[in-house]
């Protein structure tokens, strides 16, 4: 899938997983355009799980928590899961302090996150049979 460039982020679709690579510091300003754009992608359909990659994010405040929680709620109702990857120390402190790790998963790499999320797809499909 081609990577699409957009302010503050680019994304990739892998099966039913949407990977959002955040490319800017995540404050109220960045969140405004990121929310609109990511919701457009989620609502376009066929997306179950979300991965937010933080490799390029050096700063985040409580606006970022609101963004992740909002997207988490959107996919949760359809049984989707939300993961974050490549989280640096600064952002990790904010996630830890906010308690966000109680509802979202953290992985070292995007590949690892995708593997775990797709594994959960297969398990569920297996149960149906």
């Amino acid at each position: 899938m081609m990577l699409q460039e957009k302010k503050c982020m680019h994304y990739e679709l892998v099966g039913n997983c949407l990977v959002i690579y955040v490319t800017d510091d995540l404050d109220h300003h960045a969140v405004t355009s990121l929310r609109e754009y990511s919701d457009g992608l989620i609502e376009a359909g066929n997306i179950k799980h979300l991965v937010f990659d933080f490799a390029q994010v050096g700063f985040m405040d409580s606006s970022g928590i609101g963004l992740i929680m909002g997207r988490y709620k959107k996919v949760m109702f359809l049984g989707g899961r939300t993961a974050v990857t490549r989280v640096g120390d600064v952002v990790n402190r904010i996630f830890t302090l906010s308690g966000l790790y109680q509802i979202i998963e953290k992985y070292d790499t995007v590949e690892e996150a995708l593997q775990m999320l797709q594994k959960s797809n297969r398990k569920k499909e297996g149960k149906k049979k």
């Binding site: 109220h28 409580s62 929680m69 120390d89 600064v90």
Partner: protein, 139 residues
Amino acid sequence: MKLVIESVSENEAFARTVVAAYITRLDPTLEELADVKTAVSEAVTNSIIHGYVGKKGEITVNCQIHGKEVEIEVIDQGVGIADIPKAMEPLYTTKPEWERSGMGFAFMEAFMDVLEVESEPGRGTKVVMRKEIGKEQEE
């Protein structure tokens, strides 16, 4: 140091970067720098979202260094806060529809040593934060 900015979201990054540059003379650790930047970002964002509710206004950021302590004031002439203790409760927000997490004041409290909020409906809000820099290296 006195910085006066318009209440637009583009200025959030500018305000926290200026304050971070101002305190470099205290030789802060990366963690202390991140703490101060987050606290300033929260206070300025509050002024923009809640103080001026999206309208144009001025936000003043005053910084002073006393010994090893930095004092930061973030002042707006916005709508003010009727119930300050309620506003400071973690997870409480008046703007859930905008996905505000309700953690702004909680982060300011967690990342700074002292947080004081003065506000009155119709008369704006003044947030005063203090933090001693270099505590961790000494310990």
